[in-house]
Symmetry: C2
Subunit: 320 residues, 2 copies
Amino acid sequence: MLLDQTVLPTTVRERRCVEVADLVQAIQDLAVRGAPLLGVAGAMGVWLAAQSAPDHPQGLRQYVTEQAARVAAARPTAVNLRWGVEQALGELDRPWASVAEARGRLQAVAERIHRDEVARCLIIGTNGAEALGPVRHLMTQCNAGGLATGGYGTALGVIRVVASRTPGLHVWVPETRPLLQGSRLTAFELAEAGIAHTVVTDNACAALFREGVVDAVVVGADRIAANGDTANKIGTYALAVIAHHHGVPLIVAAPSSTVDPDTSTGAGIIIEQRPASEVTPYGSPARNDAFDVTPAALVRAIVTEHGVLRAPYDLRSVRP
Amino acid sequence: MLLDQTVLPTTVRERRCVEVADLVQAIQDLAVRGAPLLGVAGAMGVWLAAQSAPDHPQGLRQYVTEQAARVAAARPTAVNLRWGVEQALGELDRPWASVAEARGRLQAVAERIHRDEVARCLIIGTNGAEALGPVRHLMTQCNAGGLATGGYGTALGVIRVVASRTPGLHVWVPETRPLLQGSRLTAFELAEAGIAHTVVTDNACAALFREGVVDAVVVGADRIAANGDTANKIGTYALAVIAHHHGVPLIVAAPSSTVDPDTSTGAGIIIEQRPASEVTPYGSPARNDAFDVTPAALVRAIVTEHGVLRAPYDLRSVRP
């Protein structure tokens, strides 16, 4: 059962995934989304495959491996999805005595990743608050909250910790076209948490910096290359350039499972292209990149559960 | 009769304005919009007032003056609206022999302003193409086209002239939240003109600059202060900062009726606040500035029907 994030906040609907194909579709539809939660979904997908797999060891191994590749390929940018699948497959490579034991182990690893992501978010929140220092107005982009992480949130985890220490903290929420995950999901989570916030169009952000009412920007990440270049929701690079122009820091908050030490720079990150119909209902030619890459030079700090990293970044040895 | 721009491009609907109140409502609803067209609408509003006015000179003068103030106050940012009203009222200050003559003169001045804006757009287009030099990919923001000007367009007039001289010219069209006047109106006008274009979210623009596929940005204006600070559709300032960061020129194309020599800097320009409901259907707190101000330092050239101006700008003596 997944909470269908495409219809929030007006409708709370669960979506049932029986087969791997259901989960792949749910991932592609963004019913389940957010880099850390995709790590959990990746491992859950392998477990789901094991449930439909043949009841003999060789058949199970082959079926699960094939299905796992489909899950890992469902979306290209967030490295956590592939990472979650690999964590689960690693469990299959260790000796097991029966297919029942294999299934049990895959369930356990998926549940452990979920617990770990929740625990990581709490530490990331504390680390991020320290990296930021005193602030009154924060801005984020898209949704890197509990909905994206299965827990407390990465960027929103930082915001939650800052809010708990800062009476009167206020958060600017860019609506984040095309799928409005800011105005739909982040605003919803901030309202639930009782944190003051204001939704603005993505277009309106720059003027707020000029007005001097943005002290820092905190965003999540979908993949962080070894040099610190960060792929995140489309529009993050715009905020990074605008923040830099106004001398405002932008920090990235993400679990170490989002770091991809095998991708040396942002140039190696594949950017998912989504349907033009998300952008224009009028049939015009359209281009719809789901992510952009912010170069490390515009990132003031990268906050993981291991601590606060500052430029120049070398993330080649980061491991979750 | 006005073309209702709020339902384009899917519906072509005319909106009838019998009373001044109808026109004020149409202006506030953005059924009629775009700085130069608001100049025409301002003068037309005075003429409309004269048609409902008492049939004796003193009564007509008083009624028209009162109603003209309502028209001029319908929206605060675009100076052309006030300018169009003032042009028409100036006609009332000259001697006239009968109320019929006064009405005829007000009709004539409104029609002259419309003709003049069309003629100005053609010259602005040619001047802007010269200011730009050779380009292959342009970007604009919102709609400064025929729909906004009653003619050939200001920013879109420039694009039309460049397209006529540049085989393969391609235009990036940011959708321009909250009212999508880019993806609804500009994409529609470019398709009608046979100019290649691609709609993108406002969030996606920055990554295109980094990719190197934007040679210049051409925008219209709602008010230009004497020092060159330019109010235009919200999001223009974001594009200006991003263009500056990437060394890409941004030029402003507008008739001299958009210059407000009485406003010394952008700080004196009132920014219209529009309803939060345009931004969020979910009831979240929201802020919805309709415009932002781009400081003159980020404007490579201001193109009017008089020619191409470059920084440092001194527009105190510009008169239409």
